[in-house]
Symmetry: C2
Subunit: 328 residues, 2 copies
């Protein structure tokens, strides 16, 4: 596969969906020297206006079909649930042999959706960059988002190998490493490394929110005890995540079943005072973090290296707080 | 309560337990101008040697009793489960009217343990700074750990108000805000903001670890999809956390019951394709993060403002990875 310097192996790009990922792709293309046209499509006029203001592309379209006209690389950066409709919309306008790739978090259902609606001449390469942040929209993107991250491509039997090479080359130029995986396996691995963590994070934030015996203000004030970590990924785009769960049902339910089973055993250990079991579980989970840091996938700095200067809205100085005990 | 400049309202300190919190207290005392002796006690000789090497105190003792002799402020920074034994050990050596405070994550059981073993002349002020990191041991401390964080004190009917003032003044000098709370309420609020999040984090890491269908190397490689956030707090000190769960059983089981109930409803929504319910939950959890950022308890920077330069162990460049599909 090509990894030599030179130029991108396509000349006209269309990016459909200009959220965090779409805008990061646009910025990365420019940062890495792509000089051809970048047509941006999004049915959301506000997002398009922001994209234009930020000069993310060279043309802006509410019609996905108009955006893809003449493009030899089409990147679908829309929520997984919108892939089928987007594919149907662009199908008649696709240039002969255009590569259509995507960045969706689920692969089996996306492949099925796209191959069902796109013309046979389109070269579909399903993909998923394992990168992001909790922020969304065209202002959230940054061109270095994919650096030192893995990008997974899930070619199947009918996938054109040259098209895979061209897409892989693009991700490498963005600073990513490529992993080729079977789509079904991708969906299982991501269920445990991404989908289940998001579901759990959303759920714990919801549980805290709904505790009528603890005020929301208290949850916020004392969130540095651990809770705040979960609120980050629970601030991710709700449409995107709804679609992930609806489209990766089987693998998510499988991992969730195991999670609940494991949690029940910890619950039982707490109830019966089985300290040894708790200690043993808490001890061995440390090793995985070391592995993640060693693999360059997270920082070794304590507390994620969080800036300690996020002081603007910090607690006002002054008098001691009132005793809250009455409310308990 | 005193918040004016001047000196700390005690003259000889003993810190028992020189881990992350104990060492941070020692560093904060010095940073904020405390000039008196700091006796450090820890039954772990290695930790003591490191503390001496870092010059965290003025004397070092494997005997807690020897460490507290003559101190007018004793800070117990040991795991919650060690409070009773530590209290028993120091009881005969405590100076008349010495203030004994602690930093344990559970308050009702600690108060019970300490008041049961300490002499009547000791002035017990139970406390809990809501600050920390996933790292542990005397090298993990830093003197700014408590800045812009809340420190909770849980005085009860018999607590000496002057002693509460003196301890509160110390935390304020460290840069913390003070909240006074009923111990039982503290234990409930912290169950949801800290204890349950840690339990969930430990559990999801364990579930991933035990998935025989997904290799540990895959979990590590693709952890940037969300999983890595959980591994941070799941790398916290196992002894400390075992003790927290054993000593705050009731409140943890209550919040855990609610969490599981809520999770079951999301599970059902996924199984039956109820997208509207998922969307509604995912949408409203965003608000809490905004509140936490507005309150200065977390950074607004995407991805916790993680340094993007943690590149040392990053993926090697080079050839494409092998297809892993066969293993699925």
């Amino acid at each position: 596969m090509a990894d030599e310097p030179g130029s991108f192996r396509f000349s006209r790009v269309a990016i459909i969906g200009i959220g965090l990922i779409g805008s990061s792709v646009a910025l990365a293309l420019r940062a890495k020297g792509f000089e051809g046209p970048i047509a941006i499509g999004d049915r959301n006029g506000d997002a398009l206006r922001v994209a234009a203001e930020l000069e993310l592309g060279t043309s802006y379209h509410t019609s996905a079909a108009k955006a893809v006209a003449g493009a030899d690389l089409v990147m679908l950066c829309v929520p997984v649930g919108a892939m089928s409709a987007t594919g149907r919309a662009i199908a008649p306008a696709l240039a002969e042999g255009a590569i259509v790739t995507d960045t969706g978090s689920v692969k089996e259902s996306v492949i099925e959706a796209l191959t069902g609606v796109l013309p046979a001449h389109a070269r579909v390469v399903a993909g998923h960059p394992i990168a992001g942040s909790e922020q969304s929209g065209p202002r959230a993107g940054y061109g270095t988002l994919f650096e030192r991250r893995w990008s997974i491509l899930t070619p199947t039997e009918g996938t054109d190998p040259e098209a895979v090479d061209i897409v892989a080359d693009m991700w490498r130029r963005f600073g990513s490493e490529i992993e080729l995986m079977d789509p079904k396996r991708h969906d299982l691995v991501l269920a445990i490394t991404s989908h289940l963590p998001h579901l759990i994070a959303y759920n714990i934030v919801r549980t805290a929110y709904d505790m009528e015996s603890v005020a929301e203000s208290e949850v916020i004030k004392f969130s540095a005890g651990g809770f705040r970590d979960f609120t980050r990924i629970a601030a991710s785009d709700p449409t995107m995540w709804r679609d992930v769960f609806l489209n990766n049902r089987e693998a998510v339910l499988e991992t969730l079943g195991r999670f609940s089973e494991d949690l029940a055993s910890l619950q039982r250990a707490i109830r019966w005072g089985e300290g040894d079991l708790l200690y043993e579980v808490f001890e061995r989970t440390r090793a995985i973090r070391m592995g993640i840091i060693d693999a360059g996938q997270d920082t070794a700095a304590p507390d994620f290296g969080r800036p300690r200067s996020h002081t603007d809205g910090a607690p006002e100085d002054g008098a001691a707080r009132s005793v809250n005990g009455e409310r308990g």
